[in-house]
């Protein structure tokens, strides 16, 4: 019995190992191609590793970093992601605490609207949202976070509400009796308790924001050169005439490197965050 189980475990391990190689391979393929010379990157030859003849060293990376507006796009992506995530975490946790603790018709109505906004597809609002953003002068990387706060609020408020419900209300009452006003209570008592949730929500929102394509594509004013990395990569491909494949592969790799580094260091939090998000969802 025990032996049968062990041998079966070994078979499963082997299958999983093969699968994980298949899972990593696409990324590895891009890495291999990013070291090839421009002319050796062909449609049918994507699986070949760079050889001594086709090896290009770091040329593609150098070119991607210097010529294609990559660093600007990277900076804008970073600014948008960080500002929006911070804003979403602070504002939505406050809002969620309020609508959970105050039992009134408008709390329920707000909660319903937030849940609705999670299901509504972006195409429903894309045209009107981009023209609203344009009119309110929110179409640059430093103010787009307000749009993101509005459009990303649904998921965040929903998750925070779920967790606030599990905080014993006595803790908050005690702090109010001791003379804290609601703002102090929130920041000194509730927020520290919510810390694990803040991390979970922060991770989910970061994953969404960093990779979001259509919203910034429509909202940001591209005539002023505002771009994020996904827009830049799509722009490369759709660009007129010949696409320079080498720098293209290198920019994809440069986009993946920070993600992979963050993932290696925070994978426990990320995986926990996803699981926690799903339980409350």
């Amino acid at each position: 019995m025990e032996k049968a189980r062990k041998s079966r475990d070994r078979v499963i391990s082997c299958i999983l190992a093969v699968l994980s190689v298949a899972w990593i391979y696409p990324v590895f393929m891009i890495l291999a191609n990013s070291f090839k010379q421009e002319r050796s990157i062909t449609t049918g030859g994507a699986f070949q590793l760079p050889t001594a003849e086709t090896f290009a060293g770091f040329d593609n990376f150098r070119e991607a970093l210097t010529s294609q507006g990559f660093l600007t796009a990277f900076w804008y992506s970073l600014v948008i992601t960080v500002m929006s995530v911070v804003l979403i975490l602070v504002c939505c946790s406050m809002c969620a605490w309020f609508i959970t603790r105050v039992k009134a018709w408008y709390s329920k109505a707000l909660y319903f609207l937030f849940v609705l906004s999670m299901v509504v597809p972006f195409q429903m609002v894309m045209f009107t949202l981009s023209s609203t953003a344009d009119r309110l002068k929110l179409s640059n990387p430093y103010t787009i976070c307000i749009i993101y706060l509005g459009f990303g609020a649904g998921l965040a408020v929903f998750m925070f509400c779920g967790f606030v419900k599990s905080i014993p209300i006595e803790v908050e009452e005690a702090s109010m009796i001791d003379g804290c006003n609601p703002i102090q209570t929130f920041f000194h008592v509730v927020l520290p308790i919510l810390k694990p949730t803040l991390i979970s929500v922060g991770i989910l929102e970061t994953m969404w924001l960093w990779n979001d394509y259509l919203l910034p594509y429509l909202v940001l004013d591209r005539t002023k050169g505002y771009m994020t990395i996904p827009i830049l990569i799509q722009y490369f491909r759709g660009s007129y005439g010949k696409v320079s494949m080498g720098p293209m592969m290198a920019s994809i790799m440069l986009n993946l490197i920070p993600i992979i580094i963050v993932y290696i260091f925070c994978q426990k939090h990320i995986i926990k965050g996803v699981a926690a998000g799903a339980v409350k969802g």
């Binding site: 899972w23 990593i24 504002c91 406050m94 105050v102 609002v125 706060l149 609020a153 990569i233």
Partner: protein
């Protein structure tokens, strides 16, 4: 205490609510209104009633996109959930390297749709060239299969995490009691594990259905709707109606399609949630 909190409503609610109005409520209402109009910009809209909707029902590209999306969603939902559940079962057996496998399978979720689509475009085109078959953007069935493979590659890891959390939360006494009573592995799977992870199944079905229907980035980057709009999904079809056509009538049509799309997604999620929630057991 509630009364004191209530007095502070401007601090707590106004920032989020104001942004929510700008980012969701106002565009949503305006979008609803504009779906009954003919317009090129928001200020130049004339009321035309249900004309846009009538056009939408006769637009063959939209109907094609609907069937394509529906088929894609069904196929990808089934594949993703079966595979994710199988992997989750394998990863809860305490075999060596569980953590590494879990990390590897989850990795694609961190990569954005545009980049994923592009990576798979290169990979699949290479495979097709080596096999001497037409490229992805020239043959619609390959585009469909490509999208399914891409979606599986991305989503299996995410669903797997949810299933693992579900399986791990089953109280071990249940499993032990069943083993002592002489239940076989298969009986444990069907009679204990599956009923107890029903909440996870609900979530995963919900996520994969809505993700499938709303898919845009991957579709744009992998096939871009080629050949001649035949691999266009609903979201991309709406986008193209808005931005790839010239003429004063198209934006109205696009908005009407978007409203229908929105209703469709809401109805599907409600039906699905109701259907699987009723199968959940209380622990």
């Amino acid at each position: 205490m509630e009364k004191t909190i209530k007095k502070f409503w401007p601090v707590f609610v106004i920032p989020t609510f104001a942004a929510f109005c700008i980012g969701f409520i106002w565009p949503f209402l305006q979008g609803l209104y504009l779906s009954f109009c003919r317009f090129t910009t928001i200020n130049k809209a004339t009321w035309t009633g249900v004309q846009n909707y009538l056009f939408t029902f006769t637009d063959s590209s939209f109907l094609h996109a609907f069937w394509f999306t529906a088929l894609f969603t069904i196929v990808s939902t089934v594949c993703i959930n079966l595979a994710a559940f199988a992997i989750a079962l394998a990863l809860t057996r305490n075999i060596k390297g569980t953590n590494i496998f879990r990390s590897v399978f989850f990795m694609p979720n961190l990569i954005g749709g545009i980049v994923l689509g592009y990576i798979w475009n290169i990979l699949l085109n290479c495979v097709l060239t080596l096999l001497g078959k037409p490229l992805l953007s020239l043959h619609a069935p390959y585009g469909f299969i490509g999208l399914v493979i891409l979606m599986c590659w991305q989503q299996i890891g995410y669903m797997m995490i949810i299933y693992i959390a579900g399986i791990q939360s089953i109280p071990t006494d249940y499993l032990e009691a069943a083993r002592i009573d002489g239940a076989s592995e298969r009986q444990i799977l069907w009679k204990i594990k599956i009923p107890n992870v029903m909440p996870s199944i609900t979530i995963c079905l919900f996520l994969s259905l809505t993700n499938g229907f709303k898919l845009f980035d991957q579709n744009l980057a992998l096939t871009g709707g080629d050949p001649s709009h035949s691999t266009e999904m609903l979201a991309l079809n709406i986008y193209n109606t808005f931005y790839a056509r010239s003429g004063p009538q198209w934006k109205g049509y696009g908005q009407a399609k978007a409203v229908l799309f929105c209703i469709l997604v809401i109805v599907i999620s409600l039906v699905q949630l109701r259907a699987t929630r009723s199968k959940e057991v209380q622990q």
